[in-house]
């Protein structure tokens, strides 16, 4: 399985498309850093956890589209054509799907790491010792992970139903920051990071997620993981059924 993972990862990462995605993400990130983050979000410092969270939240629609493209490589008709061969091997179909999606997630994490690194370098160069890298970790984790899980889960289910649904999901992901959700339930968090600090009636508030925010993130995470598990289960069942028939 490790060999398959490495192969799938190389397939996802070592190509011009990944490089292009990385360039686009970094370019967009650079624009966001220069345009909005440098001004400081919600009256906080540009190097505050709020501003950094906002930066990542602005990147997430693009990163989500990238994840959907990685999943496209897993679920596209061309990729599914080899199912007949893989089904004949002693490899468990569910585990195989999991490994392929794991490679897609890893590729996505590499993209996200690139974006994260760009943000931290930008802040370190401009503000030096005032930047606390530890403080930037929490907003990064709570914005990236639940979004990753949800988009992955929904993407896996959609890809299983019909690969074209992944392309339908792409514009939805791009518009996700525009959805009129309550602050705490903001999927990628752009509105949350830019508006919640203003409600705290305190200047330069320390980064904290309200209880409702934790619940929302946990729900997104659980839904994402649930959908992913369901997709794996269905894949296993389908292949088994195919073998029996």
């Amino acid at each position: 399985m490790r060999k398959i993972f490495r192969y799938e990862l190389r397939r996802a990462v070592c190509n011009k498309f990944f490089l292009g995605l990385l360039v686009v993400c970094l370019f967009f990130g650079w624009q966001t850093l220069n345009g909005e983050v440098i001004q400081g979000v919600a009256h906080t410092a540009p190097f505050s956890a709020w501003s950094f969270g906002y930066y990542l939240a602005q990147e997430l629609p693009l990163l989500s589209v990238a994840l959907l493209f990685f999943l496209w490589n897993v679920f596209s008709k061309e990729a599914r054509r080899v199912n007949i061969l893989t089904a004949a091997t002693p490899v468990d179909a569910g585990s195989y799907l999991l490994v392929k999606c794991g490679a897609a997630v890893t590729a996505w994490l590499l993209l996200a790491f690139g974006v994260y690194t760009l943000g931290t370098i930008f802040l370190l160069v401009l503000f030096g010792p005032a930047v606390s890298l530890n403080d930037l970790l929490l907003p990064a984790l709570i914005s990236l992970l639940p979004a990753l899980a949800l988009v992955l889960g929904i993407g896996m289910m959609a890809g299983r139903l019909h690969p074209a649904l992944l392309l339908v999901l792409a514009p939805v992901a791009l518009a996700a920051n525009l959805l009129p959700l309550p602050l705490e339930w903001d999927l990628f968090g752009a509105t949350f990071f830019s508006e919640y600090p203003l409600t705290l009636e305190q200047l330069d508030p320390a980064f904290a997620l309200p209880a409702a925010g934790w619940i929302a993130k946990a729900v997104y995470l659980a839904v994402g993981v649930g959908f992913a598990a369901l997709a794996v289960h269905l894949e296993r069942k389908t292949v088994l059924k195919g073998l029996q028939s």
Binding site: I38, Q39, T44, A45, L126, F127, A130, L203
Partner: protein, 737 residues
């Protein structure tokens, strides 16, 4: 295979390639960058990016599309040109087909793909542009802008890249050369209007009036590069490798095809001629010598009693011809020589004195957009001097990157001073009152002339060709003439007749803003509270909307305002007023606070500007009209909220971090905050000053005194310190924090 068949095969092959369609699709999307990422048109406001609707939704997208499509098609061209070499089949294909013919067909097919991409872009963006620009959308302008800004950039990229590859035969080197070529246009050549091939210089675009002169200079830029790149392309065809020979060996073979070296010579020579003899800009000296302009030795014996001009603008070509008749009085009894200022683009074709030809000399001494023409006068006492002149009016070379002001088209006409008729340089009138200046001009129906200052225009019948004959009457030695689809409103306000001239394209917006009542209210209010404008005419006042960005000017009974004051986006700015009519009032209040020498040229760090007093005056007017509650809710509360927000800004609280940033970031941040400071913080400070000086009446008296103050000619501007001193306050007294 015949060339035509090969061309068709090449087109088919190119259009079956998915990469071509990707290039076409991305090209179609590339104008989007002009909406937010690359906006080269100059903003009329420092606080926020603000340009005309045509500029925002047509000019910027077309320019961004030009850069995007050039890069995309350069990549496609490089890949296509290197395809057979990369696949190592070039030896086979060269054996079957003429590499020269193949090269022509390839460039032709790529150009066809670029045309397809342009067509897709035009079709895809039209609904969006129509929707956004609304009543100012003009179909022909939309097509012309895309075809002159964007398409040539794409074709030039194809020509350059194909040429670079044919010469170097290296994909990597070709791409590096293209990158350098594109970067040169955007950096080292950015100050030269003719050298900017990928990003032609476009300073502003007009919604209401004309863009023809701008398009003419852009098209000329395109012609120059087309010739130059065709020459380069012909050179590259000389270098096409043949019979396994190297660069020079192949060139020695290719040169036998006589048309190639001939094409090189013709194209490069034509390019040189086009560059050297461009007709748009004069050759004024770079150093501005004001002494030479003002210290003129006047002729003591020659005077003029009247000037009459027969003006014949050619609205299709942008050229202007005229005959100027000067009634002269030579008191010396001897022959004299007089001088006239003429636009450097005009050529004087004949000069007669009392219907006898006289000698004249064109000095070709271009300086500050004029040149001198000397005329020898006979010894007669009364002379009718007739000067026939004309040509393409040239703009000052100092403004090469912001061309377009001297427009002569069916949309707009602007002819001022020496651009309208030769201007007396070293002779004046001898009477107390300035002598009459009359002119006659034919203009198409729907085009109304307006004279600046106290001049009047009168319709004097229609010509058989449908044009309207106008008589213009003014006085002095020159006129400033505007003509466009003007609508005029006459309002009796502040005891004078105020005539407001604006473009018919703004009619709906102006009607919605109740332009008549707004004008009347502003003139009544400001004249009563601060005093009459110094440039009121003899019981009349003209307010003229003109095709210009960056404010206006005023004198002798007239004031002009750039069209950006009335653009629909600007009229929705909540910081200027609570609605369209209130923003319109704000713009007209600028006649009192903001014209001429009222405020020093603004820098982004300077919070004291025309806006503070203008916003405050608008607030006071609305308070008087709608009551205190309305004014507080729509003005004071809005300012307070914005200012509260401003004081909470991280950099305002921690200026040490701002200092730490590189200059560009610092400027951007300060600039982004300057709008709030000028439009909200300063009015609040003036409001606080009003309370400290004892109330509204006292503040009105102070402002009236400041408005009517005696000007110090060495520094005629109203400073913040002048304001504080007049209020007997200090900066600290007005601290809001």
């Amino acid at each position: 295979m015949k060339a035509w068949s090969l061309f068709r095969v090449e087109i088919g092959r190119l259009f079956r390639n998915r990469l071509t369609w990707l290039a076409i699709a991305v090209t179609g999307l590339s104008p989007a960058a002009g909406l937010w990422l690359y906006r080269p048109l100059a903003s009329s406001s420092e606080a926020a990016y603000s340009v005309s609707l045509t500029g925002a939704y047509l000019g910027n997208p077309a320019l961004a599309g030009g850069i995007g499509s050039a890069v995309i098609f350069a990549l496609l061209t490089a890949l296509e040109c290197s395809r057979s070499h990369r696949s190592r089949v070039d030896l086979l294909t060269d054996a079957m087909l003429s590499p020269l013919c193949m090269g022509f067909c390839r460039i032709g097919a790529l150009s066809l793909a670029a045309l397809t991409a342009q067509a897709v872009t035009l079709i895809a963006w039209m609904p969006f542009t129509m929707l956004q620009t609304g009543s100012v959308f003009r179909g022909w302008l939309y097509v012309a802008v895309y075809l002159s800004f964007m398409l040539p950039s794409t074709l030039f990229a194809i020509l350059f890249t194909a040429s670079a590859y044919q010469i170097s035969r290296r994909l990597d080197l070709t791409l590096v050369l293209f990158a350098a070529f594109a970067l040169l246009s955007m950096t080292a050549w950015s100050e030269s209007w003719l050298l900017r091939w990928i990003n032609p210089p476009v300073y502003s675009m007009s919604d209401d009036f004309g863009n023809t002169r701008l398009l003419q200079s852009v098209l000329y830029n395109r012609l120059f590069w087309l010739l130059l790149l065709c020459g380069l392309c012909a050179v590259s065809f000389l270098c096409v490798r043949r019979y396994g020979k190297g660069l020079f060996g192949s060139a020695a073979r290719n040169v036998r095809k006589v048309y190639l070296p001939l094409l090189v010579v013709v194209c490069l020579l034509s390019g040189y001629v086009v560059y050297t003899y461009q007709p748009f800009l004069d050759h004024s000296k770079a150093e501005i010598d004001m002494d030479a302009y003002y210290n003129i030795a006047y002729n003591e014996y020659v005077f003029f009693d009247a000037i009459h001009v027969e003006a014949r603008p050619n609205l299709s070509t942008g050229r202007f011809y005229g005959t100027a008749l000067y009634s002269l009085h030579n008191t010396s009894g001897k022959p004299q020589t007089i001088s006239l200022y003429v636009n450097p683009g005009y050529r004087v074709s004949s000069v007669t004195a009392n219907q006898t030809s006289v000698a004249f000399r064109d000095c070709n001494d271009d300086d500050q957009n004029t040149k001198t023409v000397e005329v020898d006068l006979p010894a007669e006492e009364e002379i009718e001097l007739e000067v026939a002149y004309g040509g393409f009016p040239q703009e000052w070379n100092l403004q090469e990157l912001s061309q377009g002001s001297l427009e002569i088209s069916r949309d707009y006409l602007y002819l001022a001073n020496q651009n309208f008729a030769p201007l007396p340089k070293d002779f004046v009138w001898e009477t107390q009152e300035p002598p009459p200046y009359t002119a006659e001009i034919d203009l198409p129906k729907g085009m109304t002339p307006v004279l600046f200052a106290e001049g009047t225009v009168e319709q004097a019948g229609e010509n058989p060709d449908g044009t309207v004959h106008w008589k213009l009457t003014d006085s002095g030695q020159s006129v400033i003439l505007y003509a466009g689809d003007y609508i005029s409103h006459h309002i009796d306000a502040a005891g004078i007749d105020v005539a407001f001239y604006y473009s018919a394209k703004h009619e709906r917006v102006m009607r919605e803003c109740n332009v008549d009542s707004v004008l009347k209210r502003v003139f009544d209010y400001c004249t009563e509270h601060y005093g009459p404008l110094s440039f009121y005419g003899d019981g009349t006042m003209k307010l003229i909307e003109i095709c210009n960005v960056g404010g206006g000017y005023a004198a002798a009974g007239a004031s002009v305002m750039g069209e950006e004051s009335f653009n629909e986006q600007g009229l929705k700015d909540p910081l200027k007023g609570a609605g369209g009519s209130e923003v319109l009032a704000h713009e007209i209040v600028h006649q009192w606070w903001g014209l001429g020498n009222m405020f020093a040229s603004e820098s982004y760090t300077d919070v004291w500007s025309a806006e503070g007093l203008t916003v405050y005056t608008t607030y006071r007017m609305m308070k008087e009209q709608y009551g205190e509650a309305y004014a507080k809710q729509n003005y004071v509360d809005v300012w307070q909220k914005q200012v509260d927000d401003y004081y909470q800004n991280f950099y305002v609280r921690h200026p040490e971090y701002l200092e730490r940033l590189p200059e560009q970031y610092r400027a951007d941040i300060v600039n982004s905050l300057s709008g709030v400071r000028r439009y909200c913080e300063m009015p609040l400070k003036i409001l606080k000053a009003e309370q400290l000086v004892g109330g509204e009446e006292e503040m009105d008296a102070i402002l009236a005194k400041l408005f009517t103050r005696e000007l110090d000619p060495t520094y005629p501007y109203l400073t913040y310190q002048d304001f504080l001193s007049a209020c007997a306050l200090t900066e600290e007294d007005l601290d809001l924090a």
